[in-house]
């Protein structure tokens, strides 16, 4: 074949150059966003508290203000030889991996059907994917223990009422995995939804044309292109589950399943508390998460995931055909398990005068039901104050968090800034430190800082910023990776400053991703419990703590349940704005 040779001969000579000199890697644009100040801010927010944790891990005394010294020791490493650590770690790994898979499955399917298909009632299904975010995992776990405990669980009572010989036991590995998976699915959902709604259908069509069935298309094109989002959410979800204490506490311990978080909790709860050892475990976790982050970077760096290009973006919906209703059913099933049943259990608990029930027929007894607890909650000053504080703190930290995450994500994925790897690594650190340990680090940091922020709402905002840096970054990163850089460059060429180009091109294109990130941070800030527990004062009471106190009391179950229901409602209302921004299509 002569042509074959002749075309080959045209191949440009690939002259390998000597490795690029270090000089050359000067960071170029965008000068307006040059990375150093940003790195300083992020490092300050994250590394100072983390540094305290590190110091705690290797110093003889707990390095709290007033007694900070540098007597170092390795003796705390002995904690790893303690009986049960191995078993607990193993359990945590099993739970972590399976629940992460479950969360990715639920989140992924819902994200896909809402972003890309003709599923019935799309807006409603979108809401379904989101809603468990309004239910803190702590509350969700309690609700599920009310539902699924083997003896008095409402489901089991119902089953007995119906004469069915079947017992649900939520105090089991399966139960823990189910609840964790369900309540962390929204993270996966949000991250993947924004990434999938940025798909360029030509890329998918090409798969269909070249012989790939819809499934093959999803497998080879749609999902791989969403890989940054999938890996990002997998990382988030896994570490969260791995560190989740409340669900373990409520569901795993009664089932005699030990997990690492309960182990850490016990270390912290021992008297005197063994903070150093908890810190050691945190440091190990940090190393693991950094390695995973690095691995993720490696995997993603070699390829490109741009789906929004300057050759058009024709939003197209895939027709589900016969799968329309089964998938809708799947969404409804999830709604039932993650929202309706738990909320119903909470409402029932809030209105039932006696928590004890042997049969649903008990409810028809006179005086069995009383809605008074809702009124009590709504009239309580404490509740109203903390709700106000919560909203202020959550909105502020979500806004700031989104901005910082965008700046970091942009610097890491769009510029050639020298420090971008470092910046990403630093931003991911908080993910690895269990909240309880990080809470201490933040407490020490803001006590020793010579600025009078401690004891104000501002310190909560700053703490949330630090804690939620990884979530924000992962949320933004996947959208940035989906949009072609040429689009923004083009605006710069047409006379816009880089910042202006970012605002008028990149940001609007990433609208869905930014709105999702904002929503996620907002909800996380509303839910965050452990960290503020170290930082709040009676003046800066927030809702999550008030609810936690109610549950801790044990006796006030009715109010606690009522409060939780109202809490969920507040979160629902609060989520309205970012949801509005995030729905709809990108094209005009």
């Amino acid at each position: 074949m002569t042509t074959m040779q002749s075309t080959r001969a045209q191949a440009p000579p690939e002259a390998p150059l000597p490795a690029p000199s270090a000089r050359r890697r000067r960071w170029r644009r965008p000068r307006g966003l040059s990375s150093l100040p940003l790195l300083l801010v992020v490092a300050f927010l994250v590394l100072v508290p983390a540094g305290f944790v590190l110091l705690a891990a290797f110093s003889v005394d707990i390095p709290r203000p007033g007694s900070i010294n540098f007597d170092l020791t390795l003796q705390h490493l002995a904690v790893f030889t303690e009986p049960g650590v191995l078993k607990a770690t193993l359990n945590s790994l099993i739970i972590g991996v399976s629940a992460t898979l479950l969360a990715l499955l639920i989140g992924g399917v819902l994200a896909f059907v809402t972003a890309r298909t003709d599923i019935p009632l799309r807006g409603f299904v979108f809401l379904i994917g989101l809603m468990p975010l309004f239910l803190p995992s702590y509350v969700g776990a309690l609700a599920w223990s009310i539902l699924g405990s083997p003896v008095a669980g409402l489901l089991n009572i119902g089953m007995r009422d119906l004469g069915l010989d079947f017992t649900v036991n939520i105090y089991s590995m399966g139960g823990v995995v189910l609840v964790m998976g369900m309540f962390y699915a929204p993270y996966a959902f949000l991250l993947m939804h924004s990434s999938m709604s940025l798909m360029n259908p030509d890329l998918e069509d090409a798969a269909g044309v070249h012989g790939g069935s819809t499934w093959q298309m999803l497998r080879n094109v749609t999902f791989p292109l969403a890989l940054p989002a999938i890996l990002g959410s997998a990382l988030l979800v896994f570490t969260h589950i791995f560190e989740n204490f409340p669900v373990s506490q409520v569901l795993a311990t009664p089932g005699q399943i030990d997990t690492l978080p309960t182990f850490i909790y016990r270390l912290m709860n021992a008297s005197p508390s063994r903070g150093n050892e908890a810190a050691v475990m945190a440091v190990v976790l940090v190393i693991v998460v950094l390695l995973v982050t690095l691995g993720q970077r490696r995997i993603l760096a070699r390829r490109s995931y741009t789906t929004v290009s300057g050759k058009g973006l024709k939003a197209r919906r895939i027709s589900l055909g016969g799968w329309r209703w089964p998938l809708f059913g799947f969404a409804l099933g999830y709604l039932l398990l993650a929202i309706i049943l738990p909320l119903a259990a909470l409402v029932l608990t809030a209105i039932r005068t006696s928590p004890y029930m042997q049969s649903f027929s008990d409810l028809s007894a006179p005086g069995a039901i009383d809605f008074g607890s809702f009124g009590q909650v709504l009239r309580s000053d404490l509740f109203l104050d903390s709700a106000g504080n919560s909203v202020v703190v959550a909105v502020a930290s979500a806004v700031l968090g989104t901005v910082v995450a965008f700046l970091v994500g942009y610097t890491v994925y769009r510029t050639r800034a020298k420090a971008r790897g470092l910046l990403e690594g630093v931003s991911m650190v908080p993910l690895a430190i269990p909240a309880i340990v990080l809470g201490m680090g933040l407490l020490w940091t803001w006590l020793v800082m010579p600025v009078p922020l401690y004891g104000t709402l501002a310190v909560l905002v700053i703490a949330f910023l630090a804690v939620q840096m990884p979530q924000g970054l992962r949320g933004i990163a996947s959208s940035i990776q989906s949009t072609e850089r040429d689009l923004e460059d083009n605006a710069v060429l047409h006379g816009a400053r880089r910042s202006r180009a970012v605002l008028s091109i990149t940001v609007p294109l990433m609208r869905v991703g930014i709105a999702s990130t904002f929503l996620m941070l907002l909800m996380l800030s509303m839910r965050e419990l452990t960290v503020p527990l170290f930082l709040y004062t009676s003046e800066t009471h927030i809702l999550s703590i008030t609810i936690f106190d109610q549950f801790e009391n044990g006796g006030a179950l009715q109010q606690a349940a009522a409060m939780s229901v109202i809490y969920c409602l507040i979160m629902f209302v609060l989520s309205y704005l970012p949801r509005r921004l995030g729905s709809g299509s990108i094209t005009p």
Partner: protein, 353 residues
Amino acid sequence: DSPTSEAARNEVLPMPAKIDTSNGLVIDGERIADKELYEAAKKDKVVLYSGSGKESEDLTIARFKAETGIDIELTRMPTNKLSERVLSEHGANQLGAGVVRVTDPLVAQQFAERGVYVPYRPPSYDELSKADNVVFNDGQYLTAYYSAYTFGYNSQAVQGADVPKTWSDLLDPKWKGKLGVVHAGAGGTVTALAAFQIDAFGENYLTKLGAQQPRIFDTTSVQLEALARGEISVATLGFNSTYGAQVAGAPIKLVVPEDGVSGSFNLMGLTPAGEQSPAAKVFINWTMSKAGQKFAAAQGFVPARPGLEPTPTGEYQLPAADSKQFHLFTPEDAAARSADTIRTWNKAFHFTG
């Protein structure tokens, strides 16, 4: 008025018959504060950090406000977190609390060593020093009252002859799988209970209890909730918080067994900031006054102040602090025996952690 202040004012215990504020603060004849202190305190505010139960603290501060007319503000969190915060704030000279209350003697001791607590003698000091384990380090901190730990049952699931009366009743095979316990490592009060059980009935008792395959919980609250719903029928419980739940309508009844009740400490002290706060001082004075102690008793605590006439807690009557029936886990015990006790307990219940 909030439901809490209503309860504090009358439901739990009727208000004292006579509160005289004409010359300082005098309640039922006992001088709580002299004129100078009281006038200053009224312009001040108590800042209380507490690791004790939220509900009982809410009741207590509401009562304090009602009886003294002094403003008070509470920050509550679990003892371990509280201790971390107090020590850190103190180290940074930012400790805002005037009074700090904790449930763990070892934590209190640490506070004392670090100077979080400063010596202070309330008017009832002489009275208090007559009893053991109430005044520590010459008044650097005090036992406010004791918490009692017993067991209880779901009053709708368990009735009549089935109701357990003594600790040994818990070993009845009919409770197999229906018991609840909080593991001994979860805090001072549960460690105290385990120590009491070993002391009173031998290690064997724990082994047998473990063989009942009880459901093991991490925190009291989750367990209490499970008991109320009938998930478990009988459980070992903190008296005060359970009583609160019962009052709130949970179908739970407590047992004050003849063969003993485990007791643990509820300690408090004045901080350097409290030294400057008249209100904080009045709060300590009031807590250790007859009125304050009675109110604690009515809530389900065992008063620390000796020589008070017994005050019932609703339908129950807890033993007095100095009675045989009340087994205290002293700070010395805690220091010396905690680790061993927990280990023994874990072995008996095949529990790791």
